[in-house]
């Protein structure tokens, strides 16, 4: 799968990121209607996704894999609950517009704004995060940077070409009478599954 950068972690500035920023990140993200599930293990992560699929009566899921999702075995968990899961590029192109849930990984979170940064170079990662009404993003809870400035320090190192997004809560508009309304062209629910230190034991260690 195409990525703007194959190894984002290498570019995190030492000492400037970590799970200690997670509470601030969580507060800001919730303030803009993102839903956050912080879990300790990949098993718990799989539970969160399965429950979500059940509660929303999801029949069809499109998913672009990331290491955290693989570890949690998300696709198999969903399939065994009789939910259609598509993860091939061609299948995603066919089904994203009619899927109930899209799942992808994101690279890091930004405490200042409650945003997550997604590497969207691969078209399928954009399809799963733009078209379905629900987007589930897998995030390593140790990879939180303090602010926009630090986020761009990382981006400036990795961004030669590609596609990078900050996603901050669900799609919204206030274009009619300034009344805030959720879910225009993008997902109306944005759900972050933040997994604690499974891969590298969080940021402080690196």
């Amino acid at each position: 799968m195409k990525k703007t950068c194959d190894d984002w972690r290498r570019h995190f500035p030492a000492g400037k990121f970590g799970a200690h920023l997670f509470p601030e990140f969580e507060k800001r993200a919730k303030a803009v209607s993102a839903e956050i599930f912080r879990v300790k293990t990949s098993v718990e992560a799989a539970d969160v996704v399965l429950n979500l699929a059940r509660f929303t009566n999801a029949r069809k899921v499109v998913s672009v894999s990331s290491p955290l999702q693989e570890k949690a075995g998300i696709e198999n968990v969903l399939k065994s609950a009789d939910i259609e899961v598509y993860s091939d590029q061609g299948d995603i192109a066919t089904h994203a517009a009619t899927a109930d849930i899209g799942i992808s990984g994101v690279e890091f979170g930004i405490a200042e704004t409650g945003s997550v940064c997604q590497d969207g170079y691969a078209v399928e990662s954009r399809l799963v995060s733009t078209l379905p009404p629900i987007h589930v993003a897998f995030l390593d809870s140790g990879l939180i940077v303090p602010g926009i400035i630090e986020a761009f320090e990382i981006i400036s190192q990795v961004f030669d070409r590609g596609y990078i997004s900050f996603i901050t809560g669900p799609s919204r508009t206030a274009d009619i009478e300034r009344v805030l309304t959720i879910g225009v062209h993008g997902p109306s629910r944005f759900i972050i599954v933040a997994v604690d230190g499974e891969l590298q034991g969080g940021g402080e260690a690196s």
Binding site: I148, I176, R178
Partner: protein, 722 residues
């Protein structure tokens, strides 16, 4: 809304009656300042950020060719086709060729102001292409056949009921005026536009020279779809969007969402660097291809501005619309009246001058009242009112003032005796003068529109005629203070003039009042007529240099500003330059001067026991002179209890000739001020500016009769025993 055929008076009248517009804008203007402040709380050093954006943009515009060249080279290297378009026609030609060559029939757009500027959508439609706006607000106004009325919230002038009507027509079924429902209807209707489009067109919030990438800031997610689904992506952006480095984008992103909508970050911020993969259906199968990507850099007058020492500032604009959100006039009438073809408000007036021409600018530039509230919030630190004044000067240079105004300025304002005899005549009730066309252009002469404001009366005995009984030379004067009263204090508020003299004499100053002093020239220079302003300046310089005073005091900040500008407007005249500077340097604003003197004497302390007073910050006082603390200290030193009103530094609606000429706009602005004063429960409203005093006094008389108007000097003088 093009320059020809605009009847601005009629437009104002209509918009003031437009309830949807008044409600939406009014409500937004109410909550915006606090919401913005809350959003900035965790932004770090905001002033440093603003300065950094300004410097980054100045650096860019100073080498715009180099930066544009780098951008083009880097984008090209990565496979983007870059086209530099001189104007709208060049864009049309390029895009029509492209559409023909690639068989494009359907186009979906996300917001691009540059494409609105050149009327791209109507052009496409005329040529048989299907084009659809996908930003909800833009789509609504497209259905309505309107132009955007706000740069960030284009449909803010419409009510849910109006939107429901447009939707019902477009979707051919009854759509209820339920906002959530309508948004979902739009989502369903527009989804097909994204999925079936052959080409996506977007704008850009910035273009990064270092790697040829662009950035898009949106809430709805339409820009993500426009840059993901169609096989061709065209970006249309003005040169002012260029920034040198990737990290420069962070500066913009820190302040753009916070200023635009009081969000810490919009829902989506997207960076597109080079062509990205796209899925294309070939027969039954989807295959990945590389998207075709084009960037059109639009000039359309921008590069000319880039070379102009003053107007290169327009490159500092990041289109956040903060300036509109705090503008007293914009928030009353919206961008259809206070705006040009595409861009609204004060910055809109400036952009219009460069992108559409001076004729369009001249239709609505007078709506800038110079209150400078925008300059406090603009992330690019653009001197919007200053640039508008400069454009006025250029317009007057080019084709002069309207005939009557010119007659008045040249014949009356430069002749103190004639001017002052007209003022006296007015006090005798010689109505023919007051009603005449001529008199309307003099400062202080107010038209008959007095429904919500009493007209100031010209005093029976102007200050200048009272001097003999007022002047008391102290036994051992500590210095000589010349008093510049300004016409308002001289002829309308002579009692306040007396207070100033009393306070200065009480401090131990010998006060002199040069009888040859005339109008400061501010009402004249504000129209752009610098020639007459210079003549007036020379008269006042002569009048004051004779007095050999240590300091020149005035109790009106607009006069202070005018007197300070003498050295600037006369800098090209060798025989006047130094004399002007000498006089300008001695000029001090009353409150700041007295606070300093009181401080030295240990008198700048809260004493208490007096009435409740609320203080109105005059625009010129607070934002031009930067004086806000001292008048408050003096009010407390005078024993009064200071109570703050809401928006104490929002314009009172006077602003020189504006308050008279556009009385219908001035009155609602005044009304807000009256409400804010009333809500404090104060007995006295104080300020330190004669222009504001006249306006506030008039408003209080009619609307809040229990509250008295006083100048800070009056409060101080009352404490001094004769």
């Amino acid at each position: 809304m093009t320059g020809e055929n605009r009847n601005i008076r009629k437009e104002i009248g209509e918009k003031l009656k437009d309830e949807a517009l008044r409600t939406n804008l009014g409500r937004f203007a109410e909550v915006y300042p606090a919401a913005r402040a809350a959003a900035l709380e965790n932004a770090g050093d905001v002033e440093a950020l603003r300065e950094a954006i300004k410097q980054m943009k100045i650096d860019t515009v100073d080498r715009i060719e180099e930066v544009a060249g780098r951008f083009e080279a880097e984008a090209t290297k990565r496979g983007i086709k870059v086209f530099r378009a001189a104007d709208g026609n060049a864009v049309f030609g390029y895009l029509m060729d492209l559409c023909k060559a690639l068989g494009v029939k359907r186009i979906v757009k996300s917001k691009s102001m540059a494409s609105e500027e050149i009327d791209l959508s109507p052009y496409f439609k005329k040529n048989g292409l299907h084009v659809c706006e996908s930003d909800l607000g833009e789509w609504i106004i497209e259905l309505a056949g309107h132009k955007p009325s706000h740069m960030v919230m284009p449909a803010i002038h419409l009510s849910r009921y109006q939107v429901a009507d447009y939707f019902s027509k477009e979707l051919d079924k009854e759509i209820p005026p339920d906002i959530a429902f309508m948004v979902q209807a739009a989502r369903r209707r527009l989804r097909g536009e994204f999925l079936n489009a052959d080409m996506g067109i977007s704008g850009a919030n910035f273009g990064i020279a270092e790697n040829g990438a662009i950035g898009l800031v949106t809430n709805e997610g339409n820009a993500r779809l426009v840059t993901t689904l169609p096989p061709i992506h065209v970006v249309i952006m003005g040169y002012e969007k260029l920034i040198p480095k990737i990290t420069d984008a962070a500066l913009i992103l820190k302040l753009l969402p916070r200023g635009a909508t009081a969000q810490l970050m919009t829902s989506y911020m997207t960076l597109v660097g080079g062509p990205t993969p796209v899925m294309v259906k070939v027969g039954e199968h989807w295959v990945e291809k590389t998207r075709e990507m084009h960037i059109i850099l639009l000039d359309n007058g921008r590069l000319k501005a880039a070379k102009d020492e003053k107007f290169k500032q327009i490159f500092q604009c990041i289109r956040c619309a903060s300036c509109l959100n705090v503008c007293p006039v914009y928030t009353l009438v919206g961008g259809h009246v206070y705006g040009g073809h595409t861009y609204a408000g004060g910055i809109g007036a400036i952009l219009t001058a460069f992108l559409s021409g001076m004729a369009d600018f001249e239709k609505f530039h007078e709506l800038c009242i110079g209150c400078r509230r925008c300059t406090e919030v603009c992330p690019g630190k653009i001197d919007i009112p200053g640039l508008i004044e400069e454009l006025r000067v250029r317009a007057v240079k080019e084709h002069g003032l309207p005939f009557v105004m010119k007659q008045v300025f040249e014949n009356v304002m430069t002749n103190r005796r004639l001017f002052h005899s007209l003022m006296r005549a007015a006090s005798l009730g010689m109505k023919p003068f007051a009603k005449g066309n001529l008199i309307r252009h003099l400062p202080l002469f107010f038209s008959g529109l007095a429904k919500d404001r009493s007209l100031p009366t010209i005093a029976d005995k102007p200050l200048r005629d009272r001097m003999k009984s007022l002047i008391r030379k102290p036994a051992k004067p500590i210095g000589r203070a010349a008093f510049f009263s300004g016409c308002t204090m001289d002829f309308v508020l002579p009692d306040t003039g007396e207070s100033i003299i009393k306070v200065l004499q009480d401090l131990g100053y010998e006060v002199v009042f040069p009888m040859d002093q005339s109008c400061c020239g501010k009402p004249v220079s504000a129209t752009g007529d610098l020639e007459t302003a210079r003549k007036i300046a020379r008269l006042n310089i002569q009048a004051f240099e004779k007095e050999k005073a240590d300091v020149i005091i005035t109790g009106c900040p607009a006069c202070v500003e005018a007197l300070h500008s003498y050295s600037e407007i006369l800098k090209e005249e060798p025989e006047w330059k130094d004399r002007a500077a000498a006089v300008s340097h001695k000029v001090r604003e009353f409150c700041s001067f007295v606070a300093e003197e009181y401080g030295k004497r240990g008198r700048l302390t809260k004493t208490g026991g007096g009435p409740k007073v609320t203080y109105h910050d005059s625009c010129h006082m607070k934002r031009v002179l930067g004086i806000a603390k001292e008048p408050r200290q003096l009010i407390e030193a005078a024993g009064c209890e200071l109570v703050e009103m809401k928006d104490s530094d929002k314009c009172c609606g006077m602003s020189g000739i504006f308050g008279v000429k556009y009385a219908e706009l001035s009155m609602p602005i005044l009304e807000q001020k009256m409400n804010n004063i009333r809500n404090t429960g104060a007995e006295i409203a104080a300020c330190a500016c004669s222009g504001c005093m006249v306006q506030l006094q008039g408003g209080l008389d009619k609307q809040v009769p229990g509250v008295k108007m006083k100048h800070v000097a009056d409060l101080l003088a009352e404490k001094i025993k004769d």
